[in-house]
């Protein structure tokens, strides 16, 4: 099922990403920031996908830790890696935008700091898995739970503290012409995310199978 759908979905995702810039080009200019605001479509879309990814990593880790399902761990590691990649996109597009909008690359406000912290936690997850030695997958799962617990903080931080970062109310109150391109960009990111997640988890699955085969050969 997934295998059959993978190729056509990949083509659709590629087409969506090819078409997204044209939609963004057609969207109305924001009154104060002008062209600079266009980065919003990818910045927020990747941030939303990053939150989704952190949840996938956390929930899969909980399933692995408490339900002892090895398959869940493969999704957890795939989601954690993608959280780091998407967080990297957020943390690059954000400062690019901030430099023009606020005049500085980085501001130590609640939203920016909490996003950086969440990104660091998932980096720590990957470091632990890579260098922690045997048994570190279970330990990393606990780290992913703490990483997931961070998501609500990052999300609400702009509404609780006074920050320079726009609030979450920006999204529901978007101008009519911006809404279409924005949700199109979100859909593109989520589709690409789903594809990457499945292919990365499949790779882990193959790796686990290979390990089992090696063990079986050595056992003989």
């Amino acid at each position: 099922m997934v295998k059959k759908l993978f190729a056509p979905l990949t083509i659709i995702a590629a087409m969506m990403f090819a078409y997204a810039p044209f939609m963004i080009l057609d969207a109305p200019y924001e009154s104060t920031m002008g062209l600079i605001q266009k980065i919003f479509y990818f910045h927020v879309a990747s941030a939303m996908t990053m939150f989704l990814s952190a949840f996938v990593a956390g929930i899969a880790s909980a399933a692995f830790l408490f339900g002892r399902k090895p398959a869940a761990d493969r999704y957890a590691v795939a989601a954690a890696e993608l959280t780091v990649v998407l967080g990297g996109i957020v943390l690059v597009t954000g400062p690019l935008w901030a430099r023009k909008a606020w005049g500085v690359w980085w501001q130590w406000d609640a939203r920016l700091t909490s996003t950086l912290v969440m990104w660091l936690i998932f980096n720590a997850y990957l470091l632990l898995r890579k260098y922690g030695g045997p048994g570190s997958d279970r330990l990393a799962a606990a780290v992913a739970l703490f990483g997931m617990a961070n998501v609500p903080f990052v999300y609400w931080s702009v509404n609780v503290w006074r920050t320079v970062h726009p609030r979450t109310t920006v999204i529901p109150t978007l101008q009519a012409g911006m809404r279409g391109p924005f949700w199109f960009a979100v859909a593109s990111f989520v589709l690409l995310y789903t594809l990457l997640l499945s292919v990365r988890a499949a790779l882990e699955h193959r790796r686990a199978e290979l390990d089992e085969l090696y063990l079986a050969v050595e056992g003989d």
Binding site: T113, V117, L120, A124, L128, G133, G135, R138, L139, F146
Partner: protein, 227 residues
């Protein structure tokens, strides 16, 4: 319930007894905290005067750094003595084991703080004792949050490779909200006009983090420490 409390106390008492006989963690941690304060003093002192808010930052960095050291040693000792396995097969609940270890570390850290806090107050002319109750509230709530996460990660890293470097790598990003709240709360108290409502708000925030962290740690300690 009473059995649980007794189990917690037995684990704590064991750690305190070992510590009382060697005093290893206490001595090394106190001097490490001192060294931290010294190093940071060079970064944040101009013409013999500390920069504003420097004392709050230095105090909490010293607590976080020396806390990491104490956590690492507390579990390294179990590993070297090969007593961790004995602890794990002891007929007590995992949460009791976790809380016992946490309590032991908290008592050691409290001893370290009673030495380091007056020292920072003295060396940076910081009025840390003008609002002693609020300051103690910040220290207690902050240390509990830090140690709650620290005990979980130090315990689970005992059997991991490169644990010495992985502990801070895991611990600091996760506990940074606690450190931020501690520093901001302390800085609010150190202003010329101490901002007490602000300090109370940060204490409330710290207590919220404590609850979240202890819940998550109690929840994950059992599956993580079971082979």
């Amino acid at each position: 319930m009473r059995r649980f409390a007794r189990a917690v106390w037995v684990v704590t008492r064991k750690d305190l007894l070992v510590e009382a006989r060697t005093k290893e963690i206490l001595y090394t941690t106190v001097f490490f905290a001192l060294a931290c304060v010294l190093v940071f003093a060079f970064g944040f002192v101009r013409d013999g005067q500390a920069l504003p808010d420097a004392a709050a930052g230095i105090l909490w960095i010293a607590i976080a750094f020396s806390g990491t050291l104490a956590l690492g040693r507390a579990f390294e000792r179990e590993r070297q003595g090969e007593t961790l396995r004995a602890l794990l097969i002891a007929p007590i609940d995992r949460p009791a084991l976790y809380l016992g270890k946490l309590l032991g570390i908290l008592i050691v850290l409290a001893a370290v703080e009673t030495l380091v806090v007056p020292l920072v107050a003295l060396m940076f002319q910081a009025a840390l004792f003008d609002h002693a109750l609020l300051m103690i509230g910040l220290l207690v709530a902050g240390t509990v949050g830090f140690a709650a996460v620290g005990t979980l990660f130090a315990a689970m890293l005992v059997r991991a490779r490169s644990r010495d470097v992985l502990l801070p790598v895991l611990l600091y990003p996760i506990t940074v909200p606690v450190i931020i709240a501690g520093v901001r709360g302390t800085a609010a108290l150190l202003q010329p006009e101490a901002d007490q409502p602000m300090a109370r708000a940060w204490i409330a925030m710290l207590i919220f983090f404590d609850v979240v962290f202890i819940t998550l740690a109690l929840w994950t300690f059992e599956p993580v420490m079971t082979e």
